[in-house]
């Protein structure tokens, strides 16, 4: 391939498009399958690499399914520098329609005081306005109430755990 060089010509054009080799093989089936997976999973990008072959398909934002704002974006861009360990956390919960998210940074308490019974337990029914937990922030105890009635499907935090803004705390369905 002595002449790929001419392609470079400092234009920034793609030197890979040299006509030295037969037309590119297009794996229609793989593309269709990946497209199906994109739709099914709500992802915005899939990239597959195998040896020196690679295939990437992307789909832009309104994928018609549920809004997945931060979720898909995070791993897609994730390759960058030294991603902090462990921070990936409960991503799928972020988008759960029944997720109750923390409205503030603070420390979450699942009962009124040490020794008291928990406000809610897994499987319990809650009514709109029931206190679910307390978040202590700036030495103030902030009761967090249910915004709708339902069943506590999951409790995603431990007692006395620090929580950040937007962190899913409960799943209520």
């Amino acid at each position: 391939m002595p002449n790929t060089k001419k392609l470079d010509t400092k234009t920034g054009e793609d030197k890979a498009m040299a006509p030295t080799t037969p037309p590119m093989y297009i794996d229609h089936e793989a593309i269709r399958k990946l497209a199906g997976l994109l739709n099914e999973t709500g992802l915005s990008e899939i990239e597959i690499t195998e040896g020196d072959k690679s295939l990437r398909v992307t789909k832009s934002a309104p994928v018609q399914t549920v809004a997945a704002p931060a979720v898909a974006a995070a791993p897609a861009a994730a390759a960058a520098p030294a991603a902090a360990p462990g921070a990936v956390a409960a991503l799928s919960h972020d988008n759960h329609p029944g997720a109750v998210k923390s409205p503030m940074v603070g420390t979450a308490y699942l009962q009124a005081e040490p020794g008291s019974p928990r406000f809610v337990t897994k499987g319990a029914s809650v009514k709109e306005g029931d206190t679910l937990l307390i978040i202590e922030a700036m030495k103030v105890m902030n009761p967090i109430k249910a915004e709708k009635s339902g069943t506590v499907v999951d409790i995603l935090i431990e007692d006395a755990q620090p929580v950040e803004f937007g962190q899913p705390l409960f799943i209520i369905e």
Binding site: A70, A77, A80, M138, P162, F165
Partner: protein
């Protein structure tokens, strides 16, 4: 020394502080809005805490959330960075009340320097030169004229309630004074319902010269030379450099020592910058910024002092490791602020960065939190990278800036790289012959010329 520092900021400055923490063996926590969850500082920090949604008011300006984040992560100090809460007296006070160390000056110094009138009185008493003018409101045109003659024409008559250039008139000579005075007062009355005006010497073509200062809690303070930030557009600095091509070593020592004495007498702790207008060999105090500056790397390059490290050390109570005579200005440095903006229309250009290649090699430093695949959010300011270049002489540094800008690739957002490339080729800029109005005038001229050519 601190075990863990919480960084209440975002973007390149948050990353700058994370880097300093890593290099000092201090753990770092970066708080961030939902819009910055993928920020480089967040990725690089030991811990991160989401403190609120995208709007700054609900996240980066949300004092309770920041203090809560410091509590839950067990931080022992808070670095406010630049902007947001960095010069907020209330925040500094609350940080200390909650038992954290504020990495910055005392709340009292923030308050004092944050009130322009108090700041001016303070530094005047401590011996700094200010723009001469009336001590307060002018009671009559006669009083005004007398003062104008004293300070020398041209003078500027300014509405006390003023803003946006309204109620502001220049009187270039004794003859003009009465009419300028009456125009200013009547314009002020019409615009603000208050016709009170004061007067000061008018500086038509000053340079913006600022002195980097650093004080500790043991009564020591030094200056680290000046930065020339005259290349501005709409009061935003575009290219900064140090040392200023307009200052002599004597002028540097004179104003630097005055400013350092001033902060020493104040008992000021941490980094700070005094801004001056400079014209015809005279300095006029403008204001003091009680925090790190965006352009602090220039000083780091020409003095070899790591300002963020020293800032953290003095906040922890350490004495300065050097005295004034240890500070030597070595070579010349430029900083180009690369913004996500169209280089001609200056329309912001947030969005995904599809390609990024940083310039490298001798004397080139990039301070940037972008990476390939990163999306510049539309929510915050448009600074995406600071290209800092150091060389032995100003001329060599300019050549190096040119080659580094040529190497730098940021696609497909618009950036001001082409603007920098234009500016550094203009003979007046290369000669160091400019003032705070130069860039806007130059751009206006160029635009006019290209309009003429097109018609």
């Amino acid at each position: 020394m601190f075990k863990k520092i919480l960084i209440a900021n975002r973007g390149e400055i948050a990353l700058r502080i994370v880097r300093a923490c890593k290099e000092m063996g201090i753990e770092s926590v970066v708080v961030h809005s939902t819009a910055d969850a993928n920020g480089m500082a967040v990725r690089m920090a030991d811990e991160s805490v989401c403190i609120g949604p995208a709007p700054s008011r609900l996240s980066y300006l949300n004092i309770p959330a920041i203090l809560s984040a410091a509590t839950v992560t067990g931080a022992d100090a808070i670095h406010p960075g630049i902007g947001f809460l960095a010069e907020n007296e209330e925040f500094a006070r609350m940080v200390e009340e909650h038992g954290f160390t504020f990495i910055g000056p005392s709340p009292e110094h923030i308050a004092k320097m944050g009130d322009k009138a108090v700041a001016k009185d303070t530094v005047r008493e401590l011996g700094l030169p200010l723009i001469p003018g009336s001590p307060g409101i002018l009671s009559s045109v006669e009083e005004g004229l007398a003062i104008a003659k004293e300070v020398g024409f041209p003078v500027l008559i300014k509405a006390v309630a003023g803003g946006g250039g309204k109620g502001m008139k220049v009187a270039r000579s004794e003859d003009e004074f009465a009419s300028s005075y009456s125009m200013a007062t009547s314009e002020a009355k019409a615009a603000f319902g208050n016709g009170d005006v004061y007067l000061e010497k008018y500086l038509p073509d000053p340079r913006h010269i600022e002195i980097q200062l650093l004080g500790d809690t043991h009564g020591n303070a030094v200056h680290l030379g000046e930065r020339d930030c005259s290349i501005q557009r709409r009061h935003q600095k575009v290219i900064e450099e140090g040392p200023s091509p307009a200052l002599t070593p004597e002028q540097r020592a004179y104003i630097g020592n005055l400013a350092a004495d001033c902060v020493r007498k104040m008992g000021y702790r941490g980094v700070g910058t005094m801004e001056f207008l400079f014209q015809d060999g005279e300095f006029y105090f403008l204001e003091m910024n009680t925090r790190l500056q965006v352009e602090h790397p220039i000083t780091e390059m020409i003095t070899g002092v790591d300002l963020v490290r020293e800032q953290i050390l003095v906040a922890a109570g350490e004495p300065l490791p050097f005295a004034q005579e240890d500070i030597k200005i070595m070579g010349h440095a430029f900083e180009c602020r690369i913004n996500a903006e169209h280089p001609e229309t200056f329309i912001p250009s947030p969005g995904k960065i599809t390609r990024f290649h940083a310039p490298g090699g001798l004397g080139v430093r990039m301070d940037s939190a972008i990476y390939e695949g990163y999306s510049v959010p539309p929510t915050y300011d448009s600074l995406v990278a600071k290209l800092i270049v150091h060389a032995k002489t100003r001329e060599e540094a300019l050549m190096r800036v040119a080659r580094a800008l040529e190497e730098c690739v940021i696609e497909r957002i618009n950036t001001t790289i082409p603007l920098h490339q234009r500016i550094i080729e203009v003979p007046q800029f290369r000669a160091g012959d400019f003032n705070i109005h130069w860039l806007e005038r130059y751009l206006a001229e160029q635009e006019a010329e290209s309009r003429k050519a097109a018609s």
